[in-house]
């Protein structure tokens, strides 16, 4: 039954897949119910799979195109899944493309109130498919939050939608993105929409304006939310202001508002880099300074990143893109010396650096000064437990990755609210968790992510999903690239039977992909984050 339903979803919405690799944003992964795994920041689990006694909720997006609805849907889904709330986004656009074929445009009168009978029928057919999938998922797959990503422009339509959901015992929460700030609109239109061939060769600003004008013509009737009897949240101008109408908000609705307070809809990039190495072996408590090589690394890393950003801008301009200046780059480090000193290379070049105490690395506990062999000898039973669950297991006095994920909550929300491009220089354990959040990794795969020193990871938000890219730092001493002395050498092999993220099973269905989904990503990213196939203890 479930398989059939999933097949239906997969057929209709190419975003969803059984299991993706860790190199691809997992926000659209279909979780395998047979092997329930706690989400990275989940505090407890329940038999039904639903949390907080919040019942089942349909979050219905409201807003014209280019208002960041898809981005909001996907980001919210990412956050709720991180907390362990079973969430899935249903993009109506996917269903439209699946029904009509990606080549065909919607009929001109598709969104009109007085649309032709043919358009109305088409509209209803698409809507029905999407809603059936929503109900199936909520009823048969223990889903808790269904995010329905569509325009929903009319008050009457919204009211009947809420009624329909209520009939299925599903609460409705409308979420409108309202933008009247022209500069935000144009930026959105420029960054996501004008890759279409219609705008080829046009000046990006003109293309953006034309695109927005077309929206107004295509969807001439739009009523902003003012319904007193419905639950709704309105995000105004990319989150500058939030407004909500609370008829019967539950815990989750308030939690969603909390998240939205930190979300914006502007597009920006996140970079991850390791700190340089210290001269002598660094212990957690010693908090050593950078060595000579570490300093050299810091300089090279800074040069590489700055060059990369400038090259990207040049390439964009060359391909007819915007000539807007680069977004400012902010740098965050932990309060540990090596991260702070690595960032000095940016400080010297005039960038702003901010230290954040919550970003200190996974506490190694008793493992701090022990070799792996010693850990095996002294704590054999802990090693076994760790292998069973490397994400939740704590060595004596140490933190688990789960502890770290819960502790990083303020950072994750600050990460969402940051509007500048952002470089995070931190310990590998922190990078793993933050990458795990942004790319919606399965909890079990987080401890195995690798961030070699010769690579800067760049995460680019596309509207459907985040994309990871890597930037190579050339001419580094090979000795400093892999695990550094300060790493906790804990055995982190995935438990047997787990699908390796390397296998590439279930990568997105190609046939229906849209332009925003680079098909070559897995191949490109493969060398980036290499999962240790051999037992790490074997190469002490």
């Amino acid at each position: 039954m479930d398989t059939l339903l999933t097949a239906e979803i997969a057929a209709n919405s190419p975003r969803y897949r059984r299991r993706s690799s860790t190199f691809i944003d997992g926000v659209h992964d279909v979780q395998d119910d047979q092997a329930p795994v706690l989400a990275p920041a989940q505090l407890y689990s329940t038999m039904s799979g639903r949390l907080f006694h919040s019942g089942r909720i349909a979050i219905v997006l409201v807003g014209l195109p280019a208002r960041g609805k898809t981005h909001i849907s996907v980001s919210l889904s990412r956050y709720l899944q991180w907390l362990g709330v079973k969430t899935r986004v249903f993009h109506l656009g996917d269903y439209r493309r699946a029904t009509m074929g990606s080549e065909n445009d919607v009929p001109e009168d598709y969104f009109f109130i007085n649309a032709s009978a043919k358009s109305v029928l088409l509209r209803q057919k698409i809507l029905k498919k999407c809603r059936d999938d929503i109900y199936d998922w909520l009823n048969h797959e223990n889903g808790q939050v269904a995010i329905y990503d569509a325009v929903n422009p009319l008050a009457a339509g919204r009211e009947s939608l809420a009624k329909e959901f209520l009939k299925h015992d599903v609460q409705t929460l409308f979420l409108e993105s309202w933008v009247d700030d022209q500069s935000i609109l144009e930026e959105n239109a420029r960054s996501v929409k004008i890759s279409s061939p219609d705008f080829k060769g046009m000046n990006p600003d003109d293309a953006a304006k034309l695109y927005l004008k077309r929206i107004d013509m295509k969807i001439p009737h739009f009523e902003t939310m003012s319904e007193k009897k419905l639950n709704w949240i309105r995000m105004i101008n990319a989150g500058a202001m939030l407004e909500y109408n609370n008829v019967n908000f539950g815990y989750l609705s308030h939690r969603i508002v909390f998240y939205l307070m930190n979300l914006h809809i502007k597009s920006r990039r996140t970079f991850f880099a390791r700190a340089g190495t210290s001269e002598k072996t660094d212990y957690y408590q010693a908090d050593a300074s950078l060595g000579e090589e570490g300093n050299a690394y810091a300089q090279k890393m800074a040069d590489t990143l700055i060059e990369h950003r400038q090259a990207e801008r040049a390439a964009l301009i060359a391909s007819g893109g915007s000539e807007a200046p680069l977004k400012p780059l902010a740098v965050w480090t932990s309060t540990r010396k090596r991260t702070v000193q690595t960032a000095d290379a940016f400080l010297e070049r005039g960038y702003t650096v901010r230290q954040r105490s919550q970003m200190s690395q996974l506490h190694p506990g008793v493992c701090e000064k022990l070799s792996e062999n010693a850990i095996r000898r002294i704590y054999p039973e802990e090693v076994v437990k760790h292998q069973q669950d490397p994400y939740h297991h704590r060595y004596p006095r140490a933190e688990s990755y789960h502890d770290l994920a819960v502790r990083l909550e303020p950072i994750i929300l600050e990460l969402e609210r940051e509007q500048n491009d952002l470089l995070i220089i931190a310990h590998e354990s922190v990078l793993r968790v933050l990458y795990g959040y942004l790319m919606a990794c399965n909890a079990m795969s987080i401890p195995t992510l690798k961030f070699p020193r010769n690579q800067i990871i760049e995460i680019i938000p596309a509207s459907y999903q985040n994309e990871a890219k890597l930037i190579e730092i050339r001419d580094l001493d090979p000795a400093m690239i892999p695990g550094s002395p300060e790493d906790i050498r804990l055995p982190v092999a995935p438990p047997s039977g787990m699908v390796s993220p390397m296998s590439g099973i279930g990568t997105p269905a190609m046939g229906l992909s849209t332009p925003s989904e680079p098909a070559d990503l897995p191949a490109r990213a493969k060398p980036t984050i290499v999962v240790k196939e051999e037992h790490p203890l074997s190469k002490d």
């Binding site: 505090l43 939030l242 307070m261 400012p328 297991h393």
Partner: protein, 514 residues
């Protein structure tokens, strides 16, 4: 180009999160529940180990004018105006001092702050010291709610001690009218302020220009609050077989005496209604002993089982007695006594961990009205600490006797507590520092959730009188006694603390949730 500076509001520059200082500025007419909100926010933040303090302008004003009549608040009364302005300045001065010297994180300025010019003045003062401002306006035009608030709280204010309540209520209504004349709600013109505007008792809310995570966290809490009067009932499960044998944790059945308590509980709850019958929502943990304890309560009452209300996970020590723990894990036993709040059982939890997992419970409690919670000793200690402002040193050592029902009623200036005893014998599960006794009697000094006899009323703190517009209970000490609470025992931030614990495998927790 590349060197363009990130703007301040996006967190790109400036202070670290640990150094963030926020002044929460209450805005609203009298009798809108501002003081209640301010007190709750302070309590919540402290519970999360974030140092917070309320600065109440009314307290400063009363030093100069103890029992002013409504005329004092007339905009045309220049003497009154001057004194109120002086009180505001004194409060803000003290607040600045507290930020600077006391290492404060979040100050709550509790006053009407009803004009744009007053708000601008506060913002300028805070901007100068690099303190963020978050304005919180509670706007309510429900006349019934205002009048009930006046009658319940305001007429017992120190401003009206010894006066006829009817006359006091009338005077207070007049005082509000004086404020209404000059009251300016936060509007479009102030769109550059960071603010939370709560309208119609939380049904309409506007959140503007949130600057950072900590502000969003405060707003998140505030929007869950309501100011309607309600009570929370707390009870442990009836005596369990493990209680009898002195074992901790586990999922034991009730003892015969525990069963007796379960049967008596409905009667005890009815007694606590004091004539006013109304249904309660019952929350239990997912463990047998709490579910069994709640099972004789009226069928029509809604019952929810929360995983988050399960007892503190004692990890490897689950099912052991304290004597066994001391023998098997002597270091752990000592470490726990040294810092019980932060000690994490090997493979289990600390009190600090429990506080994190209780977050949804606290938010849900704040949103709900009358709730009866049947849960466990450690969980009750944490919930009780939240309502009664017990600090982290004390809360893990509180005596929570079996077989009694505690009714807490949050009021504007404190939480009212009434204890109802079932008079059914039970073992004591309290344990003093260092002790391994199976059943130990608490000493006279032991802080207890249920020290008072039946029907006695106690408040969590000396009821400190409050703001310009507000008041306190009749039990308020005389005006000279107004104390400013200083809190230094709290960490600046939830410390990233590592207990003595070893590991914690995710338990396959099962919660039959609907």
């Amino acid at each position: 180009m590349e060197l363009a500076r990130p703007s301040k509001k996006t967190n790109g520059v400036g202070v670290q999160v640990g150094d963030t200082m926020i002044c929460v500025v209450m805005v609203g007419l009298p009798a809108r529940g501002k003081s209640l909100i301010a007190q709750k926010a302070q309590r919540y933040l402290k519970w999360l180990s974030i140092d917070a303090k309320v600065f109440n302008v009314g307290n400063y004003r009363r030093k100069g004018a103890a029992q002013p009549t409504a005329d004092f608040f007339d905009v045309n009364n220049s003497e009154g105006e001057r004194m109120r302005r002086a009180a505001a300045e004194a409060a803000v001065d003290d607040m600045m001092k507290w930020f600077k010297e006391g290492g404060g994180i979040i100050a709550i300025l509790d006053a009407t702050n009803s004009t744009k010019s007053r708000r601008r003045w506060i913002k300028e003062r805070c901007d100068k010291e690099n303190i963020e401002t978050l304005f919180v306006e509670s706007k309510c035009d429900d006349e019934d709610l205002i009048m009930s608030n006046i009658l319940e709280v305001k007429t017992t204010s120190p401003d009206y001690v010894g006066q006829d309540p009817e006359a006091a209520a009338q005077d207070f209504r007049n005082r509000i009218r004086n404020y209404e004349k000059v009251y300016e709600t936060i509007d479009e013109e102030e769109k550059n302020l960071t603010y939370l505007k709560i309208m119609d008792v939380g049904s309409r809310v506007i959140i503007n220009q949130i600057q950072d995570y900590l502000q969003s966290r405060v707003v998140y809490y505030l929007m869950n609050l309501h100011i309607k009067r309600r009570s929370i009932w707390l009870s442990r499960h009836g005596e369990s077989m493990y209680n009898v044998t002195g074992q901790i944790g586990g999922d034991a059945e009730l003892s015969p005496r525990g069963e007796q308590y379960a049967r008596k509980l409905p009667e005890l709850v009815r007694e606590s209604f004091e004539g006013q019958e109304h249904p309660l929502t019952v929350w239990t943990s997912t463990l047998k002993r709490t579910i069994a304890t709640a099972r004789h309560l009226p069928q029509e009452w809604n019952q929810l089982q929360w995983k988050a209300l399960d007892e503190l996970d004692s990890g490897v020590c689950d099912n052991m007695t304290y004597a066994e723990i001391k023998t098997e894990y002597p270091d752990d036993f000592k470490a726990r006594d040294d810092d019980k709040y932060n000690y994490r059982y090997r493979g289990g939890e600390s009190y600090r961990d429990v506080v994190i997992r209780l977050e949804p419970i606290i938010m849900e409690l704040e949103r709900s009205e009358n709730i009866l919670i049947v849960t466990h000793q450690a969980i009750l200690r944490c919930i009780y600490a939240y309502f009664m402002k017990e600090d982290q040193e004390r809360s893990p050592w509180l005596n929570v006797p079996l077989h009694c029902l505690i009714k807490l009623t949050p009021r504007a200036y404190g939480t009212e507590k009434v204890v109802y005893k079932a008079n059914i014998d039970a073992v004591s599960t309290w344990r003093g520092k260092g002790s391994t006794a199976k059943h130990e009697d608490p000493t006279d000094e032991t802080a207890s959730l249920a020290k008072l006899g039946d029907g006695h009323v106690e408040f969590d703190a000396p009821a400190v009188s409050s703001d310009e517009d507000a008041s306190a209970f009749s039990t308020t000490p005389s005006l000279d006694d107004i104390k400013v609470e200083v809190t230094s025992e709290f960490h600046r931030f939830p410390a990233h603390y590592l207990g003595e614990g070893r590991h914690r495998l995710p338990r396959k927790w099962l919660q039959p949730e609907k």
